[in-house]
C-alpha cells in the first residue's frame, strides 16, 4: 500500500508518465508510418505472380518410421548433417540421439531439469546442445564409449534469466545462438562460455529463432510472445527489420532456402511469409477449418512447400507460391510440437506430445 505521494514527487511522477506516454505515441506513429511506406511498394500479390507456375501434382506422404522411447512430451528435435541422425528432447528431461533409419537409440542424457525445450545438433555431428527450464544451454560431446557418462563432459555455455526456448549452432561447433523467455537472444562462445553479443528488442518471451542460410549473411530471425518477428545483425546486435502482423504468439520461424524470405507459425492458426527485400508480409497460409495454433514450420528443399505442425495433432502442407493447402497429414495422437525437414530434403521429422517422433516421406 502506498502512502499518498508528496506533491513534488507526484509532479515528477506525472512528468515521467507523460514522457513515457509521449514516447509510446512517437513509437506507434513511426510504426504506422513504416507500414505505409511498406504498402507503397506492394504492387502485386504472390499468388498472382504464381498463376503462371504449374500446380503441384498429388503426392502422398506417410509415416515411414516411428521413434518410441521418450517417457513424456517430445518438445524439440534437430537433424544431424549426416541426414540420418536426430537429437530430440522431452518434458521429462531426457535428450536422445537416434539413428532415424534404423530407429536405434545411440545416446541418451538426462538433464537436471524438466521441460528441455531446445536441442540442436552440432555441425560436426560430434556434440549436441540443449536446455530448458534450467535457463541454460549446455553442450554435450557425443562419446562412443557406451559406458561413459555423457553428463560428465557437459559444458555449460549460455546463461539466461528465464527458460531457454531455442538454440542453434552457427556455422561451426564454436558458437551458439540462443533465445529465451527472458525476452532476449544471445550469441555465445562455446569454449569459454563467454557472451559475445546480446539482442534486445522483443517485448516479451522469445520463443524461436533461425539462422540465415548463407554463410555470408550473418543475420538471424526470432519470433516471440509479443507477436513480433525480428531480423537481427549478429555483429552489431541491432534489429534490422521487424514485422508485427501476427495476431498471437509466434512459435516458429524459418528462413526460405534462398535467404530472401522467412516463414512464421503462430498461435493465431496461420503461417505467414515475409519477404526481406520487399520488407513486408507477402502471404498468409490459413483456412477456416484450421482452428488450432501452429507450433513449428519448415520449408522443403526447393522452398516450394511449407510444412506446419499444429496443436490439433495434424501437419498441414502449403504451396508457398500459390497459397493453397496441398495436403493434411494425420497420425500423431497429441500436439505436434516440433518439425524439421532433413538436410537433403528427402524426409521430414515431427515430434509430438504423444511421446513419439515420426519420420515422413
Amino acid at each position: 500500500m502506498r502512502s499518498p505521494p508528496i506533491p513534488e514527487m507526484a509532479t515528477q511522477e506525472v512528468q515521467l508518465n507523460e514522457t513515457l506516454a509521449h514516447l509510446k505515441t512517437e513509437s506507434d506513429t513511426l510504426k504506422t508510418k513504416l507500414e505505409e511506406e511498406r504498402a507503397k511498394l506492394h504492387d502485386v500479390e504472390l499468388h498472382q505472380v504464381a498463376e503462371k507456375v504449374e500446380a503441384l501434382g498429388q503426392f502422398v506422404m506417410k509415416t515411414r518410421r516411428t521413434l518410441k522411447g521418450h517417457g513424456n512430451k517430445v518438445l524439440c528435435m534437430d537433424w544431424c548433417k549426416d541426414k540420418r541422425r536426430i537429437v530430440s528432447s522431452s518434458q521429462d528431461g531426457k535428450v536422445i540421439v537416434w539413428d532415424a533409419f534404423t530407429t536405434n537409440k545411440e545416446h541418451a542424457v538426462t538433464m537436471p531439469c524438466t521441460w528441455v525445450m531446445a536441442c540442436a545438433y552440432a555441425p560436426s555431428g560430434c556434440a549436441v546442445a540443449c536446455g530448458g527450464l534450467d535457463n541454460k544451454c549446455s553442450v554435450y560431446p557425443l562419446s562412443l564409449d557406451k559406458n561413459e557418462n555423457l553428463a560428465a563432459k557437459k559444458k555449460s555455455v549460455a546463461m539466461h534469466t528465464n527458460y531457454l526456448s531455442a538454440c542453434c549452432f552457427t556455422n561451426s561447433d564454436m558458437q551458439i545462438l540462443t533465445s529465451s523467455g527472458d525476452g532476449t537472444c544471445a550469441l555465445w562462445d562455446v569454449e569459454s562460455g563467454q557472451l559475445l553479443q546480446s539482442f534486445h528488442g522483443h517485448a516479451a518471451d522469445v520463443l524461436c529463432l533461425d539462422l540465415a542460410p548463407s554463410e555470408t549473411a550473418n543475420t538471424f530471425v526470432s519470433g516471440g510472445c509479443d507477436k513480433k518477428a525480428n531480423v537481427w545483425d549478429m555483429r552489431s546486435g541491432q534489429c534490422i527489420q521487424s514485422f508485427e502482423t501476427h495476431e498471437s504468439d509466434i512459435n516458429s520461424v524459418r528462413y526460405y532456402p534462398s535467404g530472401d524470405a522467412f516463414a512464421s507459425g503462430s498461435d493465431d492458426a496461420t503461417c505467414r511469409l515475409y519477404d526481406l527485400r520487399a520488407d513486408r508480409e507477402v502471404a498468409i497460409y490459413s483456412k477456416e477449418s484450421i482452428i488450432f495454433g501452429v507450433s513449428s514450420v519448415d520449408f522443403s528443399l526447393s522452398g516450394r512447400l511449407l510444412f506446419g505442425g499444429y496443436n490439433d495433432y495434424t501437419i498441414n502442407v502449403w504451396d508457398v507460391l500459390k497459397g493453397t493447402r496441398v495436403s493434411i497429414l494425420f497420425g500423431h495422437e497429441n500436439r505436434v510440437s516440433t518439425l524439421r525437414v532433413s538436410p537433403d530434403g528427402t524426409a521430414f521429422c515431427t515430434g509430438s506430445w504423444d511421446h513419439t517422433l515420426r519420420i515422413w516421406a
Binding site: 513509437s27 511506406e37 512430451k73 527450464l133 534490422i240 482452428i291 526447393s302 528427402t346
Partner: protein, 429 residues
C-alpha cells in the same frame, strides 16, 4: 517459474483464442438457416429432442469448410473432445463416430470456457450427487478422488452434502427427458475437466506463458527509445517492389522452360520467357521488333485516355522515317497504318503488329530455340525434388547402421596420433 496446467486466474490467451473459434463453429452449426438439421433421437425408451447423428456432423463440416471426410472427422472429433458436443450413447466415451450414433450440443452453461476454472467444490458436489443418487455408481477412480476431496475440504463438507441434496431434489421435479439430458451434460463437463486416469487431458496446454506481457520486459522509456531508433532505421531502408522480388523468385522449372518451345504464343505470354527472348533478340540486333509488339499490346489493353499519346510515341520510335527503332514492315501495311494513325484508335496498329509477330515467329523464334541461351536455361531449370520420390532413403527398409560422425572424428584423431608415432619411428631409421 511455475508449471501450471490449470491457471488460477482466467484462461490463457492461446486457450481463449481456440475456445472462441470452436464456439463460432458450434454457433454456426446451430444457425436456423445454414446450420444442421436436428431431430428427435430415441434413447432406449426416452426420446431426446434436438439431436444429430455423427454422420450429420461430418457432412455439415465437409460442406461448410470444403474439406474431405478425414479432416471433417478430425475437426468434429476435436469439438467432441473439448466438450462442445457430447454423445448420447456411450456417454463416457468422448469420440465422434461417423455413423448413426446420436449427439447433442453442450449447453453454454457447461462450456469449459464459461465455468473456468472448474473448482474443487463443484467437483465434490457432483461426486456427492452421484454417490447419493445411487450407491455404487461412482467409478473406482471417482471414489478415490471423492475421499481425497473429503480430506482436503473437510471443513466445508456439510455444505457439499447439502448442495448435492438440494440439486438432486430440484432435478427430481424435471421431466425424465430433461433430467437425463442434464445428467449427460454435467457428466460430459466433468469428463473433460477432471479426466479419468489414462485419458488424455485436453486442458493440458503445457508451460504457462505470461498473460501480462509487460511482466517480462519493463516497457519503460529505454524500451520505447530503442523501438523508435529501430523504426527510424527501418524507414530509411531500401525497399524493393513486390513485382520485382516476387517474380524473379526461383529458377524456373523444367516444365515451364519446355513450354516456351510448344508455341511462340506460350513464350510471349510468360513474362520470364519474354525477358529471355528479348535478351536473345538484343544479341541479334532485332530487339525493336519485340519492343514494338509490346508497345502495341499496351495500346490494345491500356487506358483509352492514353491511346492518342501512345500511338504518337509508337510512330515516333518505330514507324517514322529515320526512327531510332524502325521496324521493317511491308510497304502496303505501312501505308495503311500511317493513314490510320491520322485517326488513332485502339486497334489501329493491329495489322502492323500482326506482321511483326509473324516475322518473329518465322524467323527469330526458331533460331532462339536452337540457341545456347535457351539450351542453357533448359539445363539450369529445376525438376522439383518433390517429384522424385523413388530415391528417398526412408522409403527403403534398410536397417544397416552407419558410422556416427563422432566415430569418424575419433578415428581421425587416432590416426593423427599414430601417424605422429610412425614418422617419429621412421625418422630414426
Amino acid at each position: 517459474m511455475t508449471i501450471n496446467t490449470l491457471a488460477e486466474e482466467g484462461l490463457r490467451r492461446e486457450q481463449m483464442a481456440c475456445f472462441r473459434k470452436m464456439e463460432k463453429v458450434i454457433v454456426a452449426m446451430q444457425d436456423p438457416d445454414m446450420g444442421m438439421k436436428m431431430r428427435n433421437q430415441r434413447l432406449l425408451i426416452t426420446v431426446i429432442p434436438h439431436a444429430m447423428t455423427g454422420q450429420d456432423i461430418i457432412t455439415w463440416l465437409i460442406q461448410k469448410y470444403h474439406i474431405y471426410e478425414e479432416e471433417a472427422l478430425h475437426l468434429g472429433e476435436m469439438l467432441v473432445r473439448y466438450g462442445y458436443i457430447y454423445p448420447l450413447k456411450e456417454p463416457r466415451c468422448l469420440v465422434l463416430r461417423p455413423d448413426e450414433s446420436p449427439y447433442r450440443f453442450q449447453t453454454p452453461y457447461f462450456w469449459t470456457s464459461t465455468r473456468w476454472p472448474a473448482s474443487e467444490l463443484d467437483y465434490a458436489i457432483y461426486l456427492a450427487k452421484k454417490n447419493i443418487r445411487k450407491q455404487g455408481e461412482l467409478m473406482e477412480y471417482e471414489k478415490e478422488r471423492y475421499s481425497l476431496l473429503h480430506k482436503r475440504i473437510n471443513h466445508t463438507w456439510d455444505f457439499v452434502v447439502m448442495q448435492a441434496r438440494e440439486q438432486l431434489r430440484a432435478s427430481k421435479q424435471r421431466r425424465k427427458a430433461d433430467r437425463i439430458v442434464l445428467e449427460c451434460q454435467e457428466q460430459a463437463y466433468w469428463l473433460i475437466n477432471r479426466p479419468p486416469p489414462g485419458v488424455q487431458n485436453m486442458l493440458d496446454w503445457g508451460l504457462e506463458r505470461p498473460n501480462n506481457l509487460s511482466a517480462r520486459i519493463p516497457l519503460n522509456s529505454d524500451y520505447y527509445k530503442s523501438e523508435i531508433e529501430t523504426s527510424r532505421r527501418a524507414l530509411g531502408r531500401n525497399r524493393v517492389k513486390s513485382s520485382v522480388c516476387l517474380e524473379g523468385a526461383p529458377v524456373p522449372t523444367r516444365l515451364r522452360v519446355e513450354r516456351w518451345s510448344f508455341s511462340f504464343m506460350e513464350l510471349l505470354t510468360d513474362a520470364m520467357g519474354r525477358r529471355e527472348f528479348m535478351t536473345y533478340l538484343e544479341k541479334e540486333f532485332s530487339a525493336e521488333n519485340l519492343h514494338f509488339w509490346q508497345a502495341c499490346e499496351e495500346i490494345k489493353h491500356g487506358e483509352s485516355s492514353k491511346i492518342v499519346e501512345k500511338v504518337e510515341d509508337v510512330y515516333k520510335n518505330f514507324l517514322a522515317p529515320g526512327a531510332a527503332r524502325w521496324v521493317n514492315i511491308d510497304s502496303k501495311t505501312m501505308d495503311k497504318t500511317l493513314e490510320g494513325i491520322k485517326r488513332p484508335h485502339r486497334f489501329v496498329l493491329d495489322d502492323a503488329q500482326m506482321h511483326i509477330y509473324f516475322l518473329m515467329k518465322k524467323d527469330s523464334y526458331p533460331r532462339y530455340l536452337k540457341s545456347d541461351l535457351y539450351k542453357n536455361m533448359l539445363a539450369k531449370a529445376v525438376v522439383p525434388q518433390e517429384t522424385k520420390k523413388s530415391v528417398f532413403p526412408f522409403m527403403r527398409r534398410q536397417r544397416h547402421s552407419s558410422p556416427s560422425p563422432a566415430q569418424a572424428s575419433a578415428q581421425a584423431a587416432e590416426e593423427d596420433g599414430r601417424a605422429g608415432t610412425n614418422s617419429a619411428a621412421g625418422s630414426q631409421l
